[in-house]
């Protein structure tokens, strides 16, 4: 019987939740790396038992952990992330030049075909890659040095590269997003990059339609349509049907178009999910009601999904990497909150149940769909 493994990173450790394909009884293990910030864990699509995890604290810096047995045991791999060449400066919050400094790994994206190849999105924004299972990491400097880096500025969470999407039909094409610089694309495996922000509009930069400077919170793609991208921006939900060359707003009837995560149904490429948040100064759901919004039309028309979610006095946030989907039929949707709840829906969002309720603040949620429970 098929199974699901949910990888949850929190402010104080990692948790791994497993269930069979019914997804009604969950086994929760953890905390793994208790007391450490676990920004992200992700499994290799090519070898689902190969997991990578970003572990860190302000005290002891960055570590990377690797598991070869689905998270039962872990081993630390290389944690040396050194920028390639002159680091130059980016903008600080007030627009003054600020030197590039490595702080942490926000996101780990394993190759679709090679378990030893992993991309790492880091703060201050850059992309690194290992091709030896984490034994060494090397920057892809063409991103940071493509020409606009001096105009990138940190979002409230830092100058972070938080999203990496590999085109399943063309591994040379990779999309990334940086807060607050925008979205970028490479068509040659990471050697050269270009901003893909035409159509975005952001009031926090002097020129609201500039080529860079946009606080993109998350982008998402369905495997079957790699030229169609969905974006949750600082404000605005956006859509592109030309691989990011142009964007149009699809916020439609959302109660607020501020938020962090966005994801796509595993089997319906026009069904997308967001979690509206009141505003950039009030990071909690409007009216104290935790509602996932679903569009079955690729945006513009949205419906609130509330069954099983708290509809009063709820003031949690859902962070950008804290939503994921499984590929079972019917599609499971998962998200974690800063209040320590992990919710799952086994009916594409129609209803929700908590699978954990009292964890530390959830930073990331990833889901693996497995042939069986090992």
């Amino acid at each position: 019987m098929s199974a699901v493994r949910v990888l949850v990173g929190t402010r104080k450790g990692a948790f791994i939740m497993t269930a069979d394909g019914k997804r009604d009884r969950w086994d929760v293990s953890g905390p793994h790396f208790g007391g450490w910030e676990m920004y992200h864990l992700k499994g290799s699509p090519a070898d689902p038992n190969r997991l990578y995890a970003s572990q860190g604290t302000g005290w002891f810096g960055q570590l990377i952990q690797r598991s070869n047995d689905g998270g039962k045991t872990w081993e630390p791999v290389n944690n040396k992330f050194v920028y390639d060449g002159d680091t130059h400066t980016h903008q600080w919050y007030d627009g003054t030049p600020h030197p590039w400094e490595f702080k942490r790994v926000w996101h780990l994206e394993p190759s679709l075909t090679d378990p030893d190849t992993v991309y790492a999105g880091v703060e201050d924004a850059a992309m690194f890659r290992t091709t030896d299972g984490g034994a060494s990491w090397h920057e892809l400097p063409g991103l940071r040095n493509h020409g606009s880096g001096s105009r990138w500025a940190p979002g409230a969470g830092g100058l972070c590269l938080h999203t990496i999407l590999i085109d399943p039909s063309n591994p040379e094409r990779i999309f990334i997003a940086i807060s607050a610089a925008g979205a970028f694309r490479t068509d040659d495996g990471g050697e050269t990059w270009k901003p893909i922000n035409q159509g975005l509009r952001s009031q926090h930069i002097p020129d609201p339609t500039a080529d860079v400077g946009h606080c993109v919170h998350r982008i998402a793609m369905h495997r079957s349509r790699p030229n169609t991208l969905f974006m949750q921006k600082h404000w605005d939900v956006m859509r592109s049907d030309d691989a990011g060359d142009s964007w149009r707003e699809v916020s439609g009837n959302l109660p607020t178009d501020f938020g962090f995560p966005i994801d796509v149904h595993a089997h319906e490429p026009e069904t997308i999910y967001v979690v509206p948040i009141k505003s950039d100064s009030e990071h909690y759901p409007p009216d104290g009601k935790l509602r996932v919004y679903r569009s079955r039309s690729g945006g513009n028309e949205w419906e609130a999904l509330t069954k099983g979610l708290p509809q009063s006095n709820c003031y949690v946030n859902v962070l950008r990497d804290a939503m994921a989907v499984d590929s079972l039929d019917s599609c499971g949707i998962y998200f974690g909150t800063t209040g320590g709840q992990v919710y799952a829906s086994t009916d594409a969002g129609d209803s929700w149940k908590p699978i954990a309720e009292h964890l530390p603040a959830v930073l990331s949620v990833e889901v693996q769909t497995l042939p069986s429970l090992a």
């Binding site: 604290t57 302000g58 005290w59 002891f60 810096g61 570590l63 630390p76 944690n79 040396k80």
Partner: protein
């Protein structure tokens, strides 16, 4: 034999107890101790001092013989009591939230 006390997270990471003992050849300095510590426990590289600059991470402090050595030269000789193993060299996490 030099005695080094580590904070709890680094004990877990290196899979050791509170105190480890290491051999240091030549002058016993902060740099010599940390070089030897990282050679014995490679997983600690980058967690106490920067990989490249070897600067102390900002939320860590180094104590020895009831003195704060955090801001001393990494090549200054540590007290004889540390060099002889009578007193430990302490790596301490600063009390800054958590």
């Amino acid at each position: 034999m030099i005695r080094v006390e580590l904070p709890p997270h680094l004990q877990t990471l290196a899979r050791v107890g509170r105190e480890v003992q290491i051999e240091v050849s030549g002058a016993v300095t902060q740099r010599a101790i940390l070089d030897a510590l990282e050679a014995s426990y490679p997983v600690l590289r980058g967690t106490i001092r920067d990989h490249v600059t070897h600067k102390r991470r900002p939320f860590l402090r180094f104590f020895a013989c009831e003195e704060d050595w955090s801001h001393e030269s990494p090549d200054a000789a540590l007290p004889p009591a540390v060099a002889s193993g009578v007193e430990p060299f302490l790596v301490v996490g600063a009390l800054a939230g958590g």
